[in-house]
Symmetry: C2
Subunit: 299 residues, 2 copies
């Protein structure tokens, strides 16, 4: 059973026990464009205590560079090398694990953040934000010439998803069994400032449904994301804690990586998801209302 | 095991044994805009033998009236009262089973065919082809005013599917547990003239995935469609045969309704799907290459 943090001593112990703090962002530090009250305070306090702070997000609509802009806008200190997004992790996976030949391309169902991270890794891509594929006209299958150099399909949250992109992604995978089928993350929803909206796992589900098979998911809770972080930061898993709002992504991710886990109830997971007869089988080590609760220990 | 039709006598026996012939269309009579060779001959021959001919399609992009236009264009005799589409069946279901109050509305993820059939049943709808909802701009959740009169969400194949329609459908269902969640059909793909494309079951899967629950499917293989046909045509199930190209829709539909079934291999189902170690557990009563094979018995 999760330990419910409540006293000043509870929060102080946690700060004493962990040197590296991994934070999910949406639902933990902010909801949409609204900061969770106290988020900047705990981050500043951790830094003042010489703790390492790392941001781990499944948000693949933005590159790390673009995501840094969001921190800046909200007045939260963050550095690009502290930010790990699923678009970046997918690009690293394609270049260093898949080792996609340089003359091959990735067909993208997704936004500029994915394209930018693929570019950083020198991976060619098509689809995505290309105006040709961003149309609400019916897909002109008869005139379409598939690009024979497509060796992978990468799907992420795409707020401009349409039938043309879904159809092309499906066709590339259907016609070429060698074509890699990747998804930045499988989150079924994401918390916007105004409530839940369909997430990357929902937006790419037409491709999965039509094809009848699952993609390889890169983001949390899968280990690929942690491999990416490990390649850049040294940390002791025993003194590292993952703070997140989702059991099936953040908390699973921490547990899969041998990290401690702290669930905050300021995002997706509600009290009823962790207590009572219908509680999830994924149990965090600690639970608290929001990161703002740490203000108890901030002088 | 399915009986493989091959001799002239096989085809003649089938014609002798069944008075009512239910045909799926895509993959059986045509593929996209290309007629299956011999389709018009068998239909004309059946009519000449005083057989009843009924067309049963999961295609919900078109109303029966619009679908009749396709028959006309391809030179295939058909009458509107012989055509049963899943858009029509959904409209009948909403008016006569759900009995949606007349001041309530249906939010549509789908095309003009659904809107027309809902109109015929005097059901109000929003979404669908409304230009306001057909945009590739990000969904403006903050400015959106949900219509409190929405009492059902109906999803069908929508070649202009976008994030705004998926988000609104999801929000109506998430916020109102009384809101009915219906899908015209669950076909994961459909055969176009140039190959497979994502079907209604794929296009609506983001709503299902985000919501974490299944809609009620109206079309084949579900009995709602057969109820619709029975309300308009009298037939003896023992002397009725369903001809289709999909095991999990057409053949299941016939079997669920106590009809005989004939699988044609001119569409989705391939030889390997019905023979060998990975064969489906759904077994048709008869199987043949295409409806063109009936030319053996046509004088």
């Amino acid at each position: 059973m999760a330990k419910r943090l409540s006293t000043k001593q509870d929060y102080q112990s946690l700060i004493d026990d962990y040197d590296t703090w991994l934070f999910d962002c949406d639902g933990v530090l902010w909801e949409g464009n609204r900061l969770i009250p106290g988020a900047t305070d705990i981050l500043a306090f951790l830094r003042s205590q010489n703790k390492s702070v790392i941001f781990v997000t499944n948000n693949a609509t933005q590159s790390r560079r673009m995501y840094k802009g969001k921190f800046d806008k909200l007045g939260v200190e963050a550095h690009v090398d502290e930010i790990f997004g699923s678009a970046y992790a997918a690009a690293v996976y394609i270049s260093s694990v898949v080792k996609l030949p340089k003359d091959k391309k990735v067909y993208v169902v997704g936004m500029a953040g994915i394209e930018e991270e693929l570019g950083v890794e020198n991976i060619q891509c098509i689809g995505g934000t290309d105006p040709v594929d961003n149309t609400l006209e019916p897909f002109d299958f008869g005139s379409w010439k598939p690009d024979p150099s497509v060796g992978a399909v990468l799907c992420g949250l795409d707020l401009s998803v349409n039938y043309t992109k879904l159809s092309k992604a499906f066709q590339y995978l259907l016609k070429n069994p060698e074509c890699h089928f990747l998804a930045t993350n499988g989150d079924s929803t994401y918390p916007s400032a105004y409530g839940l909206l369909p997430g990357a796992g929902a937006v790419m589900s037409p491709v999965k449904t039509a094809l009848g098979r699952e993609p390889l998911y890169i983001g949390k809770p899968n280990p690929t994301m942690l491999e990416c972080i490990k390649a850049k930061h040294h940390f002791d898993p025993k003194r590292t804690i993952m703070v997140g709002d989702r059991l099936n992504t953040d908390i699973e991710f921490g547990r899969n990586g041998g990290l401690s886990t702290l669930l905050v109830l300021s995002g997706i997971t509600k009290e009823s998801d962790i207590t009572g007869p219908n509680a999830s089988s994924t149990v965090p080590e600690y639970v608290t209302g929001s990161v703002g609760d740490f203000r108890a220990v901030i002088p």
